[in-house]
Structures are given as structure tokens and as C-alpha cells.
């Protein structure tokens, strides 16, 4: 995998106009992307909201809408904070390094070809701290309980 961009191609059995609406109507976008947006997307303007994806609800949505070329191209830039942990989240997302997300739509015989690219990862700092996944976190909590039980047992027998 290249380290500066991601590209995804997906065939959708829906007309270009339908896909365009799902991408650019902020309520529709929010439904499949799992984000609650404050208002419509407007080129050149900041879009704000909150992630509704389970486990990430404390994370703000922040993006700067770039282009909206009807039924052809929708793009925005968005930040990649170094950490999504509650205590480490940035105060000001606009100061974070951003990547560019582009959705390109093409009409096909059966519907729409959607090409999504995200680029500019080479601008991000080398190491990232990932959000602790719930399972991982509860795994550790469980382990710590075991260790705790083990140690207190040891303390009584010592």
C-alpha cells in the first residue's frame, strides 16, 4: 500500500443523482457516515458536528468543504488528530494536519461508479495513537482485575 493515499472504487446500483444526494445532503451523509452535522455543506465553509459511530461519540466532526461540482465531484479536507482519546483531543481542529477526501461519480450501465480518494497522509506525523477499541479496553480492565486478585491473594499468604 502506498503511504500517501487511499483509493476506493465501488459500483452502486443507484443513479448518479441518488448517490450525489446521499453524499452532499448533510442529513443523508450523516446517516451512512454516522455523524450528526450542524448544517448543509457549502464550498469553502467549515462543516461541524459530532460522530455518532459507537465508541467515537466524543469525537467532533470537522471538515472544510472544497468542491461541489454537481453529480461529478464532492471534496473536503479534514483533520487527523494524533489521538482520538478523550483526554488528548485537540482544542482546535483547524490547526491539525489535514487530508483531502474526494468523491468522484461516474455514470455506468447499471448505476454509478464511485471513486473515493483520500490523500495527503505524508503530511501527518509518523506515529499515531489509535482510539482504544472497547474490546481492547475491557480486555485490559479484566486483566487488571485478575492481576489485582492475584496480588492481594499473594499479599495475604505472604
Amino acid at each position: 500500500m502506498k503511504t500517501d493515499r487511499i483509493e476506493k472504487r465501488i459500483e452502486l446500483d443507484a443513479p448518479v443523482s441518488r448517490v450525489w444526494r446521499a453524499l452532499t445532503d448533510h442529513r443523508e451523509f450523516g446517516e451512512w457516515f454516522r455523524v450528526k452535522l450542524d448544517g448543509p455543506f457549502v464550498p469553502g465553509q467549515v462543516s461541524r458536528g459530532y460522530i455518532t459511530y459507537p465508541g467515537y461519540e466524543h469525537v467532533q466532526w470537522y471538515a472544510v468543504v472544497q468542491k461541489m461540482e454537481l453529480e461529478r465531484l464532492f471534496s473536503f479536507t479534514w483533520p487527523h488528530p494524533k489521538s482520538l482519546e478523550k483526554t488528548d483531543l485537540p482544542q482546535d481542529y483547524s490547526k491539525e494536519p489535514m487530508t483531502l477526501v474526494e468523491f468522484r461519480l461516474e455514470k455506468t450501465a447499471n448505476g454509478t461508479l464511485l471513486v473515493v480518494t483520500e490523500s495527503g497522509f505524508d503530511k501527518l506525523p509518523e506515529n499515531r495513537r489509535l482510539e482504544a477499541f472497547r474490546s481492547n479496553e475491557s480486555g485490559w480492565t479484566e486483566q487488571m482485575k485478575n492481576i489485582d486478585a492475584y496480588l492481594s491473594q499473594k499479599a495475604t499468604t505472604a
Binding site: I10, H80, R128
Partner: protein, 106 residues
């Protein structure tokens, strides 16, 4: 980075009563300084420092600088390289796009 946190290395680091006790203490609360961790222990500051560095080396404890002092805290989350992060973002796009597909095709 994966190697650094390999289970064998993590468990080897935990296979010591002092280090286990340190991890237990750090996992219960806020970051602590070496002085705080030495308090009430029969071990010297140097010994505690050595044990903390072993835990830090396997990536389950990290230090944060506060003024002139280092504080140590329990750190169960993985720190990943940019390449692994990209894989993570890529997977998230796969999931988001399959939700989009279901959404426009319904």
C-alpha cells in the same frame, strides 16, 4: 511497533512482582511521579526507575513530562505507525462505503 508490544514481551515484563505492582498502581489512577511511586516502597528510586523503563520499553507504560518532572501512566492503547494507521483508515472507508451502498440501494 507490533514487535515492541508483542504479547511475549509484555508478559515477560509483567512476570515480576514489582513491575506487576507498579502496573496495578498506575492502572488505577492518574499519572504518578517516580517519587510518588517510591513512597511506601522498600525499593530505591533507581530500582523503581529501572522497572518503569522496562514497562515503557514494551509499551504498556508511558511517561509524560510535567514541568521538571516525568510522570508515568498506564498506557493500554496501541501506538501505531503511519502505515498501520493508513490500513485502519482504509478499513474504515470500506465499512463506510458498504453502509453507503446499502443506503442508496435500499
Amino acid at each position: 511497533m507490533r514487535g515492541r508490544r508483542s504479547p511475549a514481551r509484555v508478559f515477560a515484563a509483567l512476570g515480576d512482582a514489582t513491575r506487576l505492582a507498579l502496573v496495578r498502581r498506575l492502572s488505577q489512577g492518574r499519572p504518578r511521579s517516580i517519587a510518588q511511586l517510591t513512597e511506601g516502597s522498600r525499593l530505591t528510586r533507581q530500582a523503581i526507575t529501572k522497572h518503569l523503563h522496562i514497562l515503557k520499553g514494551v509499551g504498556i507504560v508511558r511517561s509524560v513530562r510535567k514541568g521538571r518532572e516525568s510522570r508515568f501512566e498506564f498506557d493500554p492503547e496501541p501506538i501505531v505507525s503511519l502505515r498501520e494507521y493508513l490500513e485502519h483508515v482504509s478499513e474504515q472507508w470500506d465499512q463506510a462505503l458498504s453502509r453507503l451502498k446499502a443506503f442508496v440501494e435500499r
